[in-house]
Subunit: 328 residues, 2 copies
């Protein structure tokens, strides 16, 4: 956890001006909290990271938790705050109802809700929902990363791939979020390796799968080459452990490859591999996706998850009413 | 748990002879133990059922556990025993190594191993393995049900569908087990409904899915009509709970329908729906499969799980050396 950094010169090589924080950007998820002091131009003036996600903050109080971190950053009194993530869910600080998909950045920012907090203005951004009865879907947090990607990339259409416990594939067209779908690949890997019959072959101390593992690549290729459903492949991972004494490491890597390969094979039929694809990177999972996507024919560029969420919070802040000096 | 029944007249309508037990048939699985006293003609002369599967019996002793049940059935001293199921696994009483697939009934019975037991002969039947490196698979217990199905049906080819925690689809051709594959559908349902994010929508007291639930049928149809992978559908079950306040019962039923539908859609491409299909029934899961198979175009007949495992143990007994009176 890093404390406050001194306000720094924000335009190296240009006219030197001291930056003052314009707002605090907060990514408040299920298990993690990140707070950045942000200058008007998006420069980061201070950062805090903590394991005070939804559950911990729910017990300690959302307002108190936030103020503790702002105080540690020497944030000015009344500095406004923009929050994205699960803090806006029904179990969070205050519910920011889902904005319907498709939505453009103004529509997303317009769904922000003010948290009940006396010390400063705190806006919580909404999630997004696809209310199609045949394939309903929701996101919360990723919409802000998408705002950031739109800011950084401009209006060109692209497919965003956002790995995580629940990986989202998102069509972004004409500057708006057009459609999305969720695969629970990360959660399935955790469940199967810890709680299913596969745990007997994987154990509790297998290292996390590496994109260099042959068994991972083999699992990916198996699903890319075979249109068969993945659930018929899962037991074969266990059988391989029994019949061929596959190592715990290879078994975990094969399982990961099968699940990620199944997701990508599936998404390829929905999104195609030809257009521009942008992978949100910055965690161990996205390194696996990067390799698997290449094998599936995707030429994905990678963006940093923290950078795009900050850019998204900055974009939303600029669209919120009465926000920042000089843009009341 | 039922105790011994008196030795009964085994040929009603024919010449009446008192049946004496010829052997004890035992289905010894991970969590359950069933013991039947069997007459030479397959009549059941006594039955015991208990929750003394692999783990409980491993602690109490396999030999002791078996003798307790045989004593409760007044089994004659030295009555031989034939066992199928997980008792023959590496973690069981004694390992009966997998017989390679394909195998005919003589090949399966020939893989039986004698358990280390002084009081009587106890044969443990082997499981079966598919050692294909691309799709390895194993079964243990089902091979005995297949022996029984071959006995009851004769040499006509058929596809056996054997629901359970791990559902097996088996090609039986020319009187032999030709190939098989496992789907972990039942285990996935339990894991997802109890441990995944879906648990928030299902809760702990939802009734088990019924084949009459609209949401079950809808889930089945969704997967039969859409070739997309099932893992992209799982999150939509959670999103439906959030967006449409689907009941716990409907959510559980939809999940079950999606998973069973995915399995059947997948198996249909491998096995086809045109040939003779035999569904092993007798549990709540197989009632769900029966309805889902019909929607997928399968005209499956149903056989009773207990009846086929007993018929299989009888068939194996007849093939074992030095077994039964007059067939030494």
């Amino acid at each position: 956890m890093r404390g406050a950094v001194p306000f720094r010169m924000s335009r190296p090589g240009g006219e030197y001006v001291a930056s003052a924080p314009e707002f605090a950007a907060v990514d408040w998820g299920t298990s993690r909290l990140r707070v950045w002091l942000m200058a008007r131009d998006g420069a980061v003036l201070g950062e805090r990271k903590a394991d005070e996600g939804l559950e911990a903050a729910g017990r300690a109080g959302f307002g108190e938790t936030l103020e503790n971190h702002l105080a540690a950053l020497d944030a000015p009194a009344a500095l406004p705050v923009v929050v994205c993530g699960m803090a806006g869910s029904r179990q969070g600080w205050v519910e920011a109802p889902y904005v319907d998909c498709p939505a453009d950045p103004q529509g997303i920012a317009g769904g922000a809700v003010q948290a009940p907090h006396d010390l400063r203005r705190v806006y919580i951004l909404p999630g997004m929902a696809n209310r199609d009865r045949a394939a309903p879907d929701v996101m919360r947090g990723e919409e802000t990363q998408l705002l950031g990607m739109l800011q950084l990339r401009g209006p060109e259409s692209f497919t965003a791939i956002m790995p995580g416990t629940h990986c989202k594939w998102v069509s972004v067209t004409r500057g708006a979020v057009a459609a999305f779908r969720t695969w629970i690949t990360g959660e399935l890997f955790a469940l199967l390796s810890r709680h299913s019959i596969l745990r007997h072959s994987i154990g509790s101390d297998a290292p996390p799968p590496s994109p260099l593992d042959d068994a991972f690549l083999d699992g990916v290729d198996t699903m890319l080459e075979n249109p068969e459903g993945v659930t018929s492949r899962l037991f074969s991972v266990r059988a391989g452990g029994l019949l061929f004494a596959d190592s715990a490491r290879a078994t975990a890597a094969r399982l990961s490859g099968l699940l990620i390969g199944a997701e990508i094979a599936d998404a390829r039929t929905l999104y195609g591999a030809d257009g521009t694809c942008v992978l949100v990177g910055g965690n161990a999972l996205s390194a696996l996706y990067e390799v698997a996507l290449r094998r599936a024919g995707f030429a994905a560029e990678t963006v940093d998850a923290d950078a795009v969420v900050r850019a998204g919070l900055l974009d939303a802040a600029r669209r919120l009413p009465g926000f920042g000096s000089g843009r009341q």
